[in-house]
Symmetry: C2
Subunit: 500 residues, 2 copies
């Protein structure tokens, strides 16, 4: 079968490697443009049981323009709920930039622990994704910058707050404590929601949430440095091989004959028009590998072996001396793109449907500067160019980004100081192998704003369902999370009891 890049499941922010501004030199694309978000909206999941419900949601919470409402979808499971009278907790997942079923399905942790807490489960879909579409349809919601203009994180948080209050009222559950969960962008929302709406939820588990990946808070090269280090720690020769490959690709790509050569070597279904497309395909695979560098075989973005980077490097290093760099690269990358061996040829074409929600968000408030450092990164050097970024957003969406807005609204420049005596009950969970950990909160802020860092963890592995292959540190991490959440709920009950 031909594997299309549009099939890649992508958790979140992923690397939106653009295909605009053609250039002769192979370069690293600023990571915002192309979303490879799964478009499998018709897919049926069957692992977990839930009711699908809809809530009439205000389109614009922050003005009184008479814009009407839309139907926000949420998934509900009350099976283990101990009920309103016993103040059974409500576990609330803050939906990311995609259909909510996929997140419900991939957040097994909540399902696993619900029985231990007697918890109700709610998975709330993020506006403009899945079926939660303003203006009645995806086509209309995504029509232009005007219709898209209410796709913001602040509006999504207000949606969640409004929904929780309504849910509680419907279940007479006003006294029940709410715990927020979220991974990646959803984790950012969970943390921000606990910070902005402390009256709505008593705590938040925010997993792999790069809330510091804005403006100049963390070095812009940190993401690609972490990916590069993930390879370097497995094998210096593997790292060097990738780092040296870009010049060779670029050199070959300068002639039509060279492009044909590359197309054959990489077993592409069609002849390359330009090397950049191949470079994008390769570099995004390296980043994905770093995100899903899980300690057991998994099928999250792709079916992969345990510690896939180790496998990729092992393969690249396994060839006899004298094997060319491109042959090694092809061998390594096949672990990612063709682990099952079922791919006949690779279709690396970009998804032509460029206009998607995350790209809009990246072009408005979610401006995350990313660079690639000449020395420390194995990627082609790239220096974040805000002007070019802005120009592209104006061109594609007719919108000018507000790169300073997220830090104005949510802070971040001195998070520890701001939250040390302010805020409570947040777990920031990060795995250091995950390149998004570079923008994460990696130190405890206070007694109750806790950073759980796992050396061997990747992108919000903790939120996935337990398996019998989980390493001990992962079992321990999840148990810590359970204990901390139990403490929040217990404190809440104690406070309630003393107020009677």
């Amino acid at each position: 079968m031909a594997l299309s890049s549009t099939n890649f499941l992508l958790l979140f922010l992923l690397l939106f490697l653009g295909s605009h501004s053609p250039s002769k030199a192979v370069t690293l694309r600023p990571p915002f443009w192309k979303s490879w978000w799964p478009r499998r909206s018709n897919e049926r999941f069957s692992t977990y049981q839930y009711e699908t419900r809809y809530f009439t949601q205000t389109l614009d919470h922050f003005s009184f323009k008479q814009l009407g409402s839309f139907q926000q979808r949420y998934l509900l499971n009350q099976h283990h709920w101990s009920g309103a009278l016993r103040m059974g907790p409500i576990f609330f997942y803050c939906g990311n930039e995609g259909g909510i079923e996929w997140f419900a399905e991939n957040t097994g942790f909540m399902w696993d622990i619900a029985p231990r807490f007697g918890a109700m489960l709610v998975f709330a879909e993020h506006r403009y994704y899945g079926q939660s579409l303003p203006y009645g349809s995806r086509e209309k919601a995504y029509q232009n910058a005007d219709t898209l203009s209410y796709l913001t994180a602040e509006q999504a948080l207000a949606d969640f707050a409004t929904l929780v209050i309504d849910l509680k009222r419907n279940f007479s559950a006003e006294a029940c404590p709410v715990i927020l969960f979220g991974g990646s962008y959803g984790g950012m929302l969970a943390a921000w929601m606990r910070m902005k709406y402390p009256h709505i939820a008593v705590g938040a588990l925010s997993s792999s949430a790069p809330i510091l990946q804005f403006q100049d808070i963390v070095p812009s090269q940190i993401f690609y440095d972490i990916v590069s280090n993930d390879f370097k720690r497995e094998s210096l020769s593997c790292f060097k091989c990738i780092k040296e490959s870009w010049n060779i690709l670029e050199h070959l790509g300068q002639t039509s004959e060279g492009l044909a050569n590359l197309s054959r070597r990489f077993n592409l279904c069609w002849k390359l028009n330009r090397t950049q497309d191949l470079a994008d395909w390769l570099s995004s695979a390296y980043s994905y590998l770093a995100m899903v560098n899980y300690p057991y075989p998994a099928n999250f973005l792709m079916p992969l072996p345990a510690f896939p980077i180790k496998e990729v490097c092992k393969r690249m290093d396994s060839y006899p001396d004298g094997t060319g760099i491109l042959d090694r690269i092809f061998g390594g990358i096949s672990i990612y793109y063709n682990y099952t061996g079922s791919v006949d040829c690779f279709d690396i074409r970009d998804d032509p449907h460029g206009m998607n929600g995350w790209n809009w968000q990246a072009c408005t408030e979610m401006v995350m500067p990313m660079s690639s450092n000449e020395e420390s990164s194995m990627f082609p050097p790239y220096c974040f160019d805000y002007d070019a970024y802005q120009d592209q957003c104006i061109k594609e969406f007719g919108v000018r980004p507000r790169p300073k807005w997220i830090t104005t609204e949510f802070g971040g420049h001195d998070l520890e100081r701001d939250l040390k005596h302010f805020g409570s009950n947040i777990i920031f969970a990060n795995g250091l192998l995950d390149p998004w950990s570079g923008g994460g909160v990696l130190q405890n802020v206070s007694d109750s704003i806790i950073s759980l860092v796992t050396e061997e963890g990747a992108h919000h592995l903790d939120l996935r369902a337990a398996t019998d292959q989980d390493p001990e540190w992962l079992v321990d991490q999840r148990e810590s999370e359970v204990e901390i959440i139990r403490g929040w709920i217990s404190d809440y009950y104690t406070g309630k009891a003393s107020s009677f």
Copy 2:
């Protein structure tokens, strides 16, 4: 001279006693409709010196509609500022619903203490008030529900956050601590801003801020009960006289002859058309008297003696036995409306320019239910009727209120629990004579969210300039506020020092 009701300075929320829905029975008007906000925008103040500056502000912070910007006015005084190098604090006043000069002029406390702190003073005007008008003019900004739709507290808070960040950058003052100040609605904004934007300011002095006067958090009759008790504590006969007056007014108002009689007795410039107008004029005076029941002669809303309610009741009780109730009422009310004795006749007509900013806010998010209890209140009984309120808003502005939105966005139903382990560094100052204290925070929430309650205090007296007539408790209250603020700043400096 004829005294027009439009001349009354009104601090904030005041009593918007409507003149819609004519009715035979004298009733209490729901306190939102008519704003008697001072319209003296051309008035020159000279007590304090400041620079007037303008900041290009985003009209809609929470969507990406290309709506452009407007000029937000702010007043600046750097005279005492110890400078960026010494991390001199920035005292930031959160502007209320009116021209900012008036608040700068009436917040002498900030001017008084600035030298002791080496503080810069900033008074930021609230959008849609004073000169900070979207769409270029008051006329255009107030044209209809569409143009008014961005007049919300959340947008105003985002304005303040954006302005602070820009100011700090301009003065290289990123490391300088910001303290928020505000009284009444401005006090609500100061508290909410500290809660929502802890990274922007290290603390807030929120004076006479009824952040709990929403939905069902406090009893809806509390405002008029406090006014009534302010009269009752001075004199039971005074309270009873007012309570009994409404029936007499209503009875007289049923004939044209009776209306003429009332007009003469109350020395009105024109003959009354209906008793309700007179009832509104009287009941609003009682409420204003409770708000400005200050311990020294002041000219805040009107020129008044010290403890004006005591004077009103003394006058009403001073007449010989057998004096009619209406004569007593007229004698008492003249203390409020004609203390200087310069009024020839009273013009009690409503201001015809009904469309003002606060009314819009009251018709959108600032829905504060108010009732008058048959037993405990001296006002005509009135039961808050949300449906009628909503109908009026739809009729006048074409807008439907969102009565649950403020508690969704800012909480309030269980403030103590929500903020006990969340948030810090807020002073809620309330005087118990002030009817708005009924919706205030009257108990300490935590070690650093402090309630300063003064038994003899009225509406944010603490924010006014010190005078040599200040009673000791007021001097003490202000000194407590200074000490607490000093503690916040000192903690901030300690934190800064330890991070180097």
